[in-house]
């Protein structure tokens, strides 16, 4: 040791060794200070702008403020869909206890309260974008019991909060569920579409029905709130505020009262079916329903995928809107179309008479009238009245033999059958009018085991009476009948009436121009409507048992379609009043038997309500005529 030889009280003369050690210490200190300074230089001067940028968008959270969606009202201003604020339970994962066991305990307790499995909770947490405490919605619409429990036990649920959010409120339960449609979060695919420019994941848009079609009016404009948050995602103040703009309201052409009557009449049958009531001149849908139906409020709650699947796959396919997605053979309800083709193409004249012996032999195959009746010699009007199959079989044969052989098909297409009906709700089906080309193509492709032979004249005969491969929806039939009723205008059916802003001003009227005008001579029209009027109003007419007692004449045609493996499909199409047509009603009931048995009573119930026959008889009819549509 360097100081051993030195008396302790004498001041130490610094030896070289001590000096060396102090020098080492000094060098270490200098090195350390230099390291800190270099690091400071590197962080602040060399990469300062990088860190400044990092720090700047740190702590700023842009919260999208969802606008209240517009309301949907019926033609009389009755609210069908509005918004309800619900208390929803939100979870901020970053505020959960940091201890693993506490976190598990809390989530388990929460899961028990909400009826959610741990897996489901984790799945939802993962599905939500995470940034500085962005919340995960675990349940919407807390009941009061649960709400109060959570509020009283706030301390035991760190990271759990109860917030107000909007959900759709369906005032009349299942009423017009298929038409109104549903809202839901925008899908990644939809986000890319030009119709949804400016929307963000998590935004709610219409996904079905008029909610879908008129979404751009209903959805409003999202606002945003720029919030300063601290490291734990807790708001520390608002930096900016762009208020959300509420969506416009949608006034439908639908009459909720009429809709209710139609749905009740259909539901009373207890069989799958649908009906459409439409203004013959404008195409405004007055009522349109499908059974079985569903409660759209199911979709206002978060559910598991299994629950969604189970809901959609219930017996009877309740999610399918049979009024515009259910294509069925129409049976004799097709005859007015065949009749128009035959008369307009001069295959026959109105006075042409066929002897209805009850059956017809077509190249060895004998076809019979429904029920085996023999009507004797009949003209067009009578054939429509009694629904003579043999008469129309003959028209099918004639059509097959003359011209291009497809005159019935051409006219059916003119009437909008086998074509998309251009209605303002999505997913309406085009149905099918079988043509030789179609049948031969499918036959050759061997894709359909039922199409086991090429087209023959028998197929055309079948088509003439609405049997075989033909598929028509109630909406299409109503539209075709409306064209007959209004003198040949093929309307575009629509449920939307007008868009009304929040101040009550109409910002847009929905009046789609007719799709086309059919050239049907007044004679043809007169003969066909006359025949249909006789069918409804004269004893012996096919729908006389139901419509015979109606206070004023109407023109109606029944249909009884044979379907493979099940009972006959019941159809009825009716135009009223006969002398000044205003409304057309088409109804169908699966497995409903004869047209007059199931479908006609539904149509009658709708007409009675429309013309206020239950309330005030003739005065009601007058009110209806005066009120008009649109």
């Amino acid at each position: 040791l360097y100081l051993l030889d030195r008396p302790e009280d004498i001041p130490p003369r610094l030896t070289n060794r001590l000096n060396a050690r102090i020098a080492v210490l000094t060098a270490v200190v200098i090195a350390a200070v230099a390291m800190v300074l270099l690091r400071l230089w590197s962080l602040q001067v060399l990469s300062g702008d990088h860190y400044r940028a990092l720090a700047k968008d740190h702590g700023i959270l842009d919260v999208r403020v969802h606008p209240p969606r517009g309301e949907i009202l019926d033609r009389n201003g009755r609210v069908l869909v509005e918004n309800r604020t619900v208390m929803s339970l939100e979870l901020r994962p970053s505020d959960l206890p940091s201890s693993r066991s506490e976190r598990r305990h809390e989530l388990a307790k929460l899961g028990d309260l909400l009826g959610l499995s741990q897996r489901e909770i984790r799945r939802r947490v993962r599905a939500t974008p995470q940034y500085a405490g962005y919340p995960v919605v675990l349940k919407q619409g807390l009941d009061r019991r649960l709400l109060f429990y959570l509020l009283e036990n706030k301390e035991s649920f760190p990271g759990v909060s109860v917030e107000r959010t909007y959900v759709r409120d369906y005032k009349d339960g299942t009423l017009a569920a298929h038409l109104l449609g549903l809202v839901g979060q925008i899908s990644p695919h939809q986000l890319k579409g030009p119709a949804y420019r400016g929307l963000k994941p998590g935004d709610i848009i219409g996904q079905a029905g008029v909610e879908y079609t008129y979404d751009r009016f209903l959805r409003g404009t999202a606002g945003s709130q720029r919030i300063q948050v601290d490291a734990l995602g807790r708001p520390r103040g608002t930096l900016g505020n762009l208020p959300a703009q509420a969506g416009d309201n949608l006034r439908l052409t639908l009459d909720a009262g009429l809709q209710g009557v139609g749905e009740a009449a259909l539901r009373a049958k207890g069989l799958p079916g649908a009906f459409v009531a439409m203004d013959v001149h404008t195409g405004a849908i007055l009522a349109m329903g499908s059974y079985p139906t569903y409660d759209p409020s199911f979709y206002t709650q978060p559910h598991t995928k299994a629950q969604y699947d189970a809901f959609g796959n219930r017996a009877g396919d309740p999610l399918v809107d049979r009024a515009d997605q259910g294509g069925y053979p129409t049976g004799s309800a097709f005859k007015p179309i065949t009749a128009t083709a035959a008369l307009e193409e001069n295959l026959i004249s109105p006075g042409t008479i066929f002897d209805d012996t009850g059956s017809l032999d077509i190249g060895g195959i004998v076809l019979h009238n429904a029920g085996g009746a023999a009507n004797g010699p009949v003209d067009m009007s009578t054939a429509l009245k009694v629904s003579s199959d043999v008469y129309f079989y003959n028209l099918g044969l004639h059509a097959h033999a003359s011209g291009n052989g497809g005159q019935i098909q051409d006219w059916a297409h003119e009437f909008g059958l086998g074509r998309k009906p251009a209605i303002d709700i999505p997913d309406a089906t085009s149905g099918l009018i079988p043509t030789p080309a179609w049948r031969n193509r499918v036959y050759r492709s061997r894709k359909n085991p039922y199409i086991d032979r090429p087209w023959t004249q028998g197929d055309n005969v079948n088509l003439a009476v609405g049997q075989g491969d033909v598929q028509v929806t109630p909406l299409q039939l109503a539209r075709a009948y409306a064209a007959l009723a209004n003198g040949g205008t093929l309307v575009r059916p629509h449920v939307g009436g007008r868009i009304v802003d929040i101040h009550g001003r109409t910002v847009r009227r929905i009046k789609p121009a007719p799709q086309r005008h059919l050239h049907i001579s007044p004679e043809t029209r007169g003969v066909i409507l006359g025949g249909m009027e006789r069918a409804a109003m004269e004893p012996g007419g096919t729908s006389y048992p139901v419509m015979g007692g109606f206070p004023f004449p109407v023109a109606g045609k029944t249909g009884t379609a044979q379907r493979e493996g099940q009972q006959d499909q019941s159809w009825y199409g009716v135009i009223a009043p006969y002398d000044n047509p205003k409304i057309v009603v088409a109804a169908t009931v699966e497995r409903g038997g004869f047209g007059v048995e199931s479908a006609a009573p539904i149509a009658r119930a709708i007409l009675e309500h429309y013309f206020r026959l239950n309330a005030g008889g003739a005065s009601g009819a007058a009110a209806a005529s005066a009120g008009g549509v649109e």
Binding site: L1, L40, R52, A55, D230
Partner: protein
């Protein structure tokens, strides 16, 4: 002799103050640097902790000013003590140091699971801050006693044991930060004392062996030597994460804060340190606050003040006329420099999070008083060499 000049009529009074404050023998540069640091601390707290305590914007400022004034008074008082007399008290001082640590272990208030301080009327007294200084004084005295005998490995081992015992007790509290500062003091003091290089090599090898063995047997037996949060803190800077409750998150945020200060600082636009992205921003992470608010200019200025302080402290070692003084000064240099480097390093993402404060800059009575006590000792050594040199 210069009575003719009227301007010197106040000279007698002035010399009295100089006398009272011991100014004639103090190192003025060191004094200036230390007052500059505490002033910068107050300035930083005044601008950055306005909203920390509701309705009391000056809560931290008032207290830090008070601690600073008491600390400066304490420093001047200590500078007037003849430090060489402390040697006679070495056993009492050593016992007081160990006693205070044990007292904290026994009586201390449980805060976040560790026992570190005793509640006093004005502040929470943290004996480990005093213990650091007491260790410098008593360990140097104990070494001084053994200086005359041949300095064999036995002496080294016994001195090492005397030095590391309080460190071990502090680690039991558990206070990892103070513990390693104590170890640094012990090693630096022994180094200055002139322990042979070979002994240092042996110490290093033994430390490596013990640490490695303890880690292996410990993990095999499932024993944890460090608390979970200590382990996290020590390893966190190696793997940054986004979890705000995580030590690595804090380091990340500190680095962003410092970097975002750029050259001139963000002033009142500072968000990192304002919005709680950093915890403990008036104590452990105050350097990040300075970096963000005052930029490179501010942070480098603080480091410059420390550099001046170290320079003067090292100079005290060279001018000291007492070997005892040299050893004390060596321990204090190690103590201050180690704390500055580790704390700044932690704020800059270079070092693990250990809970070591920044001397005179971090808010806190114990830390400020303990540092001024150490500076008082340095001044005393300086004054002693002036008087006797």
């Amino acid at each position: 002799m210069e009575a003719a000049k009227p301007s010197l009529t106040i000279a007698p009074r002035r010399s009295k103050i100089v006398e009272l404050l011991n100014l004639r023998y103090l190192d003025g540069v060191m004094l200036g640097a230390s007052i500059g640091l505490i002033a910068f601390s107050v300035f930083t707290l005044a601008s950055a902790t306005r909203h920390e305590v509701a309705a009391q914007p000056l809560y931290f400022v008032e207290r830090q000013v008070l601690y600073g004034l008491i600390g400066i008074a304490l420093m001047i008082f200590v500078s007037r003590i003849d430090f060489t007399r402390l040697r006679e008290l070495r056993l009492s001082l050593y016992a007081a140091m160990v006693g205070s640590i044990v007292l904290v272990l026994l009586l201390g208030t449980a805060v976040r699971g560790s026992h570190r301080w005793i509640e006093l009327p004005l502040f929470r007294f943290e004996p480990s801050e005093l213990a650091k200084v007491l260790l410098c004084v008593s360990l140097s005295a104990l070494i001084y006693e053994r200086v005359r005998r041949p300095f064999g490995l036995r002496q080294t081992v016994s001195l090492l044991a005397l030095g590391l015992a309080p460190a071990a007790l502090v680690l039991l509290q558990p206070d990892l930060g103070t513990g390693i500062v104590l170890v640094a003091i012990v090693l630096a003091t022994l180094f200055v004392a002139g322990i042979p290089w070979q002994h240092f090599a042996a110490i290093g090898a033994a430390a490596a062996l013990i640490a490695g063995g303890a880690y292996l047997t410990g993990s095999a037996a499932g024993v944890q030597f460090l608390h979970g949060y200590q382990q996290d803190r020590l390893t966190a800077f190696l793997h940054p994460s986004d979890d705000p409750s995580d030590a690595s998150y804090q380091v990340n945020q500190a680095v962003i804060a410092v970097g975002s200060g750029e050259k001139a600082g963000r002033g009142n636009d500072a968000t990192q340190t304002e919005l709680l992205f950093l915890p403990e921003r008036h104590t452990d992470f105050i350097f990040a606050v300075i970096g963000e608010r005052f930029g490179f200019l501010g942070a480098a200025f603080v480091i410059f003040l420390y550099a001046v302080l170290f320079w003067r402290a090292l100079r005290v070692m060279r001018v000291s006329t007492s070997f005892y003084g040299v050893m004390i000064a060596g321990g204090i240099v190690a103590m201050l420099a180690f704390q500055v480097i580790v704390n700044a390093g932690m704020n800059l993402g270079l070092m693990p999070v250990t809970g070591i404060t920044l001397p005179l800059i971090s808010y806190g009575g114990s830390s400020v008083l303990g540092t001024f006590l150490a500076l008082g000792l340095l001044q005393s050594i300086h004054a002693h060499s002036r008087m006797h040199g």
